[in-house]
Symmetry: C2
Subunit: 217 residues, 2 copies
């Protein structure tokens, strides 16, 4: 199915990885605001023009060092679940798993991201990337008649994940708001990231169940 990637593709990925690496390292070293595209390009050994062939903005390179190939991993995690589990659970578990199994280095980068609005926005934008692969795996479970449904559900998941991350970033950003109110805690979860993700996914469960039911009566 997949021919071993040629030198062309490997070099491309190497360049992308070098840009990621350079962007994150420089951002950590001197602070996110003291890094220009020109610096990143130079550190990665390419021209600034080439940088923009890989990343559309300065922030994307930094953020992509954290997100890497999260989309593919989420899709793989969904298909890895046994066929018996509810689709809703499979997707939720896969999302939680891939957003929390984070390494040392990624944790540090996340902390950096929370400090700048532009970086937070770029990070939140990456949630949209999970939509295409999710659409594919959901469509596979729903059969060909549910293609449109799969697209809508995948997009809804991406939206739910974004909302969860927003809430989590907000809580992480200003930790003083945690004690601001007294008993309003019922409204907003504001808990850990896995909790936020599960809470955001929950409202979509009935839609998943209905879609799954309509294919296997």
């Amino acid at each position: 199915m997949t021919t071993p990637p040629g030198l062309r593709e490997r070099k491309k990925q190497a360049t992308r990885e070098a840009l990621r690496e350079a962007a994150l390292r420089l951002a950590v070293e001197r602070g996110p605001d003291q890094v220009r595209v020109e610096d990143i390009a130079e550190a990665a050994g390419v021209s600034p023009r080439t940088y923009n062939n890989y990343f559309a903005s300065r922030e994307q390179a930094i953020v992509s060092a954290v997100t890497a190939d999260r989309e593919a991993r989420i899709a793989a995690a969904v298909t890895a679940r046994p066929a018996g589990v509810r689709l809703t659970d499979a997707v939720t578990q896969a999302v939680v798993e891939q957003y929390t199994n984070t390494g040392e280095r990624e944790q540090q980068a996340l902390l950096l991201i929370t400090t700048r609005t532009a970086l937070r926005d770029a990070f939140l934008d990456t949630t949209a990337d999970i939509e295409p692969p999710l659409t594919a795996v959901i469509a596979e479970r729903l059969g060909d008649t549910g293609a449109q449904t799969a697209r809508v559900l995948a997009a809804s998941v991406a939206a739910a994940v974004r909302i969860a991350l927003e809430g989590w970033l907000r809580a992480a950003g200003n930790a003083e708001a945690a004690e601001g109110f007294g008993a309003g805690g019922l409204v907003v979860p504001s808990g850990s990231l896995p909790d936020q993700l599960r809470a955001a996914m929950a409202p979509l469960a009935p839609a998943f169940d209905a879609a799954e039911r309509s294919t296997q009566p």
Copy 2:
């Protein structure tokens, strides 16, 4: 509740409207690619710097001439439905209504938008704008305990609308694909805009019903 808007606010809206108008007119006159921000600003009687205080990109001004205050109209249309109807139906009807009740001028602008990828993207991006007002009206119907659910549902609606518009734009863009296949029509609706919107909203109905049910047993 609302104090009559002062001179300040009225002038602001006038400037915004002038920029919209100028952007659309110039785009129609000379073609979308032959219009620079400087031209739009000049035609509207402001500096280019001021233009960017209102619109973040060149395309936004053109697109906003079509979308205007669609977000507010959709939210109002939802609350205008009698309290008896299902929330899902209220939202769907409101969305369909506001995206199809289009005037002469807007129709022409839409045609223009379909001709350029950058404009189509900017147009699709505007679907995200309906999310905050939709969140508010849905939250009102669900009560205070469903705040998070309201956010997820509103975001899902925005995503569904975006998918519907993508499908419609694709169909409108290359009309030759309509006869490309024979009986594959079961998979992709590819019909009129109202049909696309209703089809995209349908998978979310169970989620809306469940949310509504959990508040009024």
